[in-house]
């Protein structure tokens, strides 16, 4: 990150989001402010309906706040066009979804290479980087397998490789272990730990306390507001 901006990867300033359903206005987020430093491992916890999905969408530039300012890697992303947001998502954010969201017809490496297709990376380089990312998550021997031929834990690791392949500023994981058995959950969480140890900034959204406990910092959200800041683990 640029020196002038310090080590902050993202900064939210009084971010609010309201949805209009008919005549009713629902406030999903109310004036949320926090920052994330480079190399942090942050968990965002909250019960369903608390607004954590909305927060995740805004952090991921999938949605824009109704008011407030969201800066990602030094850039104010509020008020950008859809095409500009798409480019930011492509370059800055690596998504890991609960449902894995792999394309069933593509082999593992082509799933991983997908974000590179949208950044205009040459074909040969795409494959090279995809294979390297798969090796990074321990699936170097599964590059030509289709998602249907992989276990749930392996599929999620493919998804993590896809999130890493663009070398994003932020890895954004939305309930990454929600669909996994306990062994695979442990695999995936250990992988996230390793990635964080090697300097990757991670924001993890979960409603499970033992998953959140892996993070160094936990934000609790309830009724669209941040409750308090809890620091756990080694501390940041």
């Amino acid at each position: 990150m640029s020196a002038s901006w310090g080590s902050q990867i993202l900064r939210l300033t009084e971010v609010s989001k309201t949805y209009a359903t008919g005549s009713l206005e629902v406030a999903a987020l109310r004036e949320v402010s926090f920052t994330v430093e480079a190399g942090e491992y942050l968990a965002i916890m909250g019960p369903s309906g608390s607004g954590k999905s909305t927060l995740m969408h805004i952090l991921g530039c999938l949605d824009v706040p109704t008011s407030g300012v969201y800066e990602l890697a030094g850039q104010d992303v509020t008020g950008l066009s859809e095409a500009e947001l798409a480019e930011i998502r492509n370059a800055r954010i690596g998504f890991v979804f609960q449902q894995f969201n792999l394309l069933p017809t593509l082999s593992a490496w082509r799933n991983v290479a997908l974000p590179l297709c949208y950044s205009g990376t040459p074909a040969a380089e795409r494959r090279e980087r995809a294979v390297a990312a798969l090796e990074r998550v321990g699936l170097g021997d599964r590059i030509d397998h289709r998602p249907g031929e992989l276990s749930g834990g392996q599929q999620q690791r493919v998804a993590i490789a896809r999130a890493l392949v663009t070398d994003p500023s932020l890895l954004l994981a939305d309930e990454p272990t929600g669909n996994l058995d306990s062994a695979s959950t442990e695999d995936v969480l250990r992988l996230l730990d390793e990635l964080n140890d090697s300097g990757r900034t991670i924001a993890l959204i979960t409603h499970e306390a033992d998953v959140a406990a892996r993070a160094r910092r936990t934000l609790r959200i309830r009724d669209g507001r941040l409750e308090d800041l809890v620091t756990s683990g080694v501390g940041a």
Binding site: G60, L62, N101, L103, L106, P115, Y118
Partner: protein
């Protein structure tokens, strides 16, 4: 996203739903093949007529006598004997009609021709030696009659191949004698075979000198009357000039105005146009029906693309989350739709060509598929694919990524 990657993605999406893609393509396929075959049939029929009229000779104008009005009864075209050998003599003067290279006055009648014990009713033509170059005919056996023979009213005849076969079988007709209306003629040549024109078998004819015809076969007493006057223009470019000259000169010599003209001049082009106008109407009608089937095929593509967008809403959401711009998403679906259209077009083209080979033997009609029709059909199929893809692709491009990701 690069074009090659977009194309690859589109082709993978198409082949992932193989049966559906084939059925979708079928609509376009049938439409394209139908359009090609109807247009091909129409053009084939026109080509046939054009060929037949082309057999009359090249750069030709055909002057026919106008209709006569006798006691208030108007006869049909050609019923008046207003065209005479004098008209022919006048138009052959280069100072009157410089753009007419040659002309041939023709008198025809149906006569019974006897050779030995065989008889055959055929068209007997009385004309001048210039008939052969004007009508672009040659002899395969023997020779034409000469000007000397014409001025001497010699009893010589040149016969067509059909007539020759009917009268003499396999024997060589040259040197044989035939009898027409009680007069004996010696056969001096056999015409080349050109097949049928629009009106008659051009190979079933007996050509004799016009003077002989006037002396021996004219019963009306009007020996100078002719039934048709063929004019050959000096070139394709001078055809309309020749038309003007002949028209003006005939009006003056007959002492009539253009409105009351007692003759008509037709060109080969006008004959083609008249002969094919009915065909053309039918072709347009049939091609219209075929075009509607193409439109229905296009609606099929659009329908399937809409279903595809709805089904792949999560994929669209994922691609958007990973950085696909609305433009990239739109392009992907447009490419997919046009690939479906093009596939239908190519297969339809193949079916069209197959039909063009097969159909003539079934319905005895030639089918001509011009390259530009084939190219046009391909373009149209792609255009239909794109046209059908615009709305579904725009819908996909406008999907909000979170709504798309959220859907199950």
């Amino acid at each position: 996203m690069s074009w090659s990657e977009t194309l690859r993605t589109a082709l993978e999406a198409i082949s992932a739903r193989r049966l559906r893609s084939v059925l979708t393509t079928l609509g376009i396929l049938i439409g394209i093949a139908a359009v090609m075959l109807t247009v091909g049939l129409g053009q084939g029929a026109q080509q046939t007529v054009r060929d037949q009229i082309g057999k009359l000779g090249s750069n030709l104008l055909i002057v026919s006598p106008g209709s006569s009005t006798t006691s208030g009864l108007r006869g049909g075209r050609g019923s008046a004997s207003t065209l005479t050998t004098r008209d022919a003599t006048m138009l052959s003067d280069p100072s009157v009609a410089p753009d007419i290279a040659a002309l041939a006055p023709v008198s025809t009648s149906s006569q019974s021709v006897v050779a030995g014990t065989t008889n055959w009713t055929t068209q007997v033509v009385g004309t001048t030696p210039s008939w052969f170059p004007v009508r672009s005919r040659t002899t395969t056996d023997g020779r034409f009659f000469t000007s000397a023979e014409e001025s001497a009213a010699a009893q010589v005849a040149v016969i067509g191949t059909t007539t020759a076969t009917e009268l003499f079988g396999r024997r060589s007709p040259v040197g044989q004698t035939i009898t027409i209306d009680g007069s004996a003629y010696s056969v001096i040549g056999v015409l080349d075979s050109i097949g049928s024109s629009t009106t008659s078998d051009e190979d079933d004819t007996v050509v004799i000198p016009g003077t002989t015809y006037a002396a021996r076969l004219t019963s009306t007493g009007n020996a100078a009357s002719i039934s048709t006057l063929y004019l050959k223009a000096t070139s394709q470019q001078s055809l309309s000039a020749a038309y003007q000259e002949a028209h003006a000169a005939l009006l003056v010599s007959h002492g009539v105005t253009a409105a009351s003209a007692d003759f008509t001049i037709a060109s080969q082009e006008s004959l083609v146009a008249t002969a094919t106008s009915t065909d053309r109407t039918l072709t347009i009608l049939l091609a219209g029906i075929a075009a509607i089937s193409l439109l229905v095929g296009g609606i099929g593509v659009m329908n399937i693309m809409l279903v595809s967008v709805t089904e792949r809403i999560r994929e669209i959401g994922l691609r958007k989350a990973l950085g696909a711009t609305p433009r990239a998403v739109r392009r992907q679906f447009l490419t997919e739709a046009s690939a479906l259209g093009l596939a239908g077009g190519v297969l339809g083209l193949a079916l069209g060509y197959a039909g063009a080979r097969l159909l003539p033997s079934l319905i005895d009609q030639p089918v001509t598929i011009e390259p530009y029709v084939a190219a046009g059909a391909l373009l149209i199929s792609v255009a239909i694919g794109i046209g059908a893809g615009v709305y579904p692709a725009t819908r996909a491009a406008r999907l909000a990524p979170i709504d798309a990701l959220r859907s199950e």
